[in-house]
């Protein structure tokens, strides 16, 4: 966990809409209060629960959300000591911002991920294959071994 991941909760911002009965029931299900919902607006109850369980503050979560990274991946990103700015090159290259987190876990660079994507492997698939010991050449041959017969 980085130093920016935890810390004091920010003050309750003014203005978020009052939660409906359904939202309140959902919040109660996760052990949250109306105050929690307001303080964490606009995150959903499941996101707030997951963030708090892993020590992520609302402020840090918002920084990741601004980059398009959801709570599950923000928690993982903080665990891998990433910064929100690190996802920008990935988004610019056409990946989902959260793919940067997947790549970090698998130890893949943007260039490597791009090479895998070029032959048809979306990043989470490529990351799992890398983790399982596949090389790009081997995986490409295996992927198209059956298909090539029909080309």
């Amino acid at each position: 966990m980085t130093g920016t991941a935890s810390g004091p909760e920010p003050p309750e911002p003014p203005g978020p809409p009052a939660p409906g009965s359904y939202e309140l029931a959902e919040a109660r299900g996760y052990g949250l209060t109306v105050s929690d919902l307001r303080r964490w607006h606009p995150f959903s109850a499941i996101e707030i629960h997951w963030a708090r369980k892993h020590g992520l503050s609302a402020g840090v979560a918002r920084r990741w959300a601004r980059e398009g990274v959801g709570m599950r991946d923000a928690v993982r990103a903080v665990r891998f000591r990433m910064t929100p700015e690190q996802v920008r090159p990935w988004a610019a290259a056409g990946f989902l911002p959260a793919d940067a987190v997947e790549a970090a876990e698998a130890g893949m660079t943007l260039a490597e991920a791009t090479a895998w994507l070029r032959v048809g492997f979306i990043l989470p698939d490529a990351a799992l294959l890398v983790r399982d010991g596949w090389t790009l050449a081997g995986a490409t041959t295996a992927r198209y071994a059956g298909v090539d017969r029909y080309v």
């Binding site: 029931a25 299900g29 959903s44 997951w50 599950r72 048809g120 979306i122 799992l128 294959l129």
Partner: protein, 410 residues
């Protein structure tokens, strides 16, 4: 795409396999309580183990080896007594803990003998909850049997069980595959009804969250926004082998090429007068059309079954080509590998509950809320599986009428 070795890791659940070790850390639903109103034994095969489930006259449920340790006779044909199950071959009596209580001829010849204290039968704990019988096949102490909040919702409940001739994991992958709804259930259903468009709204965005008991998948379609509950709340891929969308669908491995689909359903009832259901009926849903020999395609889960069995007895993941719609499936596989490693390292895997204070009406996310109003002006047809027996449909109708009348009086 996976290597064949990684595919086997996900699919093989017999004793001693890695996935078998993981799944044995969870209680698995294996039958309905109401199945034991007319019988006292039932043969079951779970994760490659042949067993007999029984209810003795004291009301104890037992799950023991299918074969008597004496001469290997079939205990599915045994008979229950006040306590335990007696083999019909030579009368050895076994209780739910696996202890041998009686060996008639041995004890006649050796009244002071201790032979029965030296033999045991394989036995697993069984518990009843929500009209289901649950078995735990893992190491002791067993975790708590989850007490999901949905079990306590007001409504007419029923259990439907099917045997699907394919591996469990391709069934569970379906639990985190939002896009298939658009094609398998919406567009294909229209084709089956002879309708030629327009097609169902397309998916435009997918999202996945994690919580203490699994994953939530979220979707935005062309006809919805991020304010829709399908995005704000989502639906639950309940760990490790269940789908929860207001009803539950467990996918329990029978063995590596067949799966027990156990569905627990609830239909909301009108009004708010108290409603108590004295028994939850269990029925067995057919998967093939007897006239044509083809898979039944008229109901939601039957359509799922067609997709699953179509992938082969064990889906060959060395031949697949995954794309953007499969992000949830990849996430599920990765997490399965992680949890296999956790068990191998001696840790409790995801979602096991051991604290009784936690295990009290445990919350699960649900679109529409836990106590939703009844839909329509009368009981809705059962859309999930073909073959609902008349007695179950009638029971639902009677419950509806009872609640509607109470509501009118109130």
């Amino acid at each position: 795409m996976l290597s064949s070795q990684r595919n086997e890791l996900l699919c093989e659940t017999g004793p001693g396999t890695s996935m078998g070790e993981l799944l044995r850390r969870y209680w698995q639903p294996i039958a309905g309580v109401s199945e034991f109103e007319q019988r006292d034994t039932k043969e079951v095969r779970i994760m490659g183990e042949d067993l007999v489930l029984y209810r003795d006259r004291e009301g104890n449920y037992g799950l023991v080896d299918r074969h008597c340790p004496h001469r290997r006779a079939d205990l599915a044909y045994g008979f229950t007594e006040e306590r335990g199950l007696r083999c019909n071959y030579h009368g050895w009596l076994w209780d739910h803990s696996g202890a041998c209580l009686h060996q008639p001829f041995e004890e006649t010849r050796h009244p002071e003998g201790t032979f029965k204290d030296k033999v045991r039968i394989k036995a697993y704990p069984v518990a009843a909850k929500a009209g289901l019988l649950w078995a735990y096949l893992g190491p002791r102490p067993a975790p708590l049997l989850p007490d999901w909040d949905r079990y306590y919702s007001r409504g007419y409940k029923q259990i439907a069980i099917s045997e699907i001739p394919c591996n469990w994991f391709q069934c569970q992958e379906n639990s985190i595959d939002p896009v298939h709804f658009e094609w398998l259930h919406s567009n294909w259903s229209m084709v089956l009804r002879g309708q030629d468009g327009p097609r169902a709204p397309t998916h435009t965005r997918l999202g996945f969250d994690e919580f203490d008991y699994g994953f939530v998948y979220r979707r935005v379609r062309a006809d919805t926004t991020e304010d829709d509950e399908l995005w704000t709340t989502g639906r639950v891929c309940l760990w490790p082998n269940c789908l929860y969308v207001g009803h539950f669908e467990w996918r329990v491995p029978i063995d590596d090429t067949s799966t027990l689909s156990v569905g627990w359903f609830i239909d909301e009832l009108p009004g708010d007068a108290p409603f108590e259901q004295d028994r939850i009926p269990t029925w067995h849903a057919p998967v093939r059309d007897e006239k044509t020999g083809r898979w039944i395609d008229t109901h939601v889960m039957n359509q799922d079954y067609i997709a699953w069995v179509g992938q082969g007895a064990i889906a060959d993941r060395t031949l697949e080509h995954l794309g953007e719609s499969d992000r949830g499936v990849i996430m599920l596989r990765k997490r399965m590998f992680d949890e296999i490693d956790a068990v191998a390292a001696g840790r409790d895997p995801l979602g096991t509950i051991r604290d009784p204070a936690v295990n009290d009406r445990v919350y699960l996310p649900i679109v529409g809320g836990l106590n939703r109003p009844a839909r329509g002006d009368g009981p809705q047809p059962f859309v999930f599986l073909a073959g609902q027996p008349d007695e179950v449909r009638t029971g639902h109708e009677q419950a509806w009428q009872q609640c509607a009348a109470a509501s009118a009086v109130g």
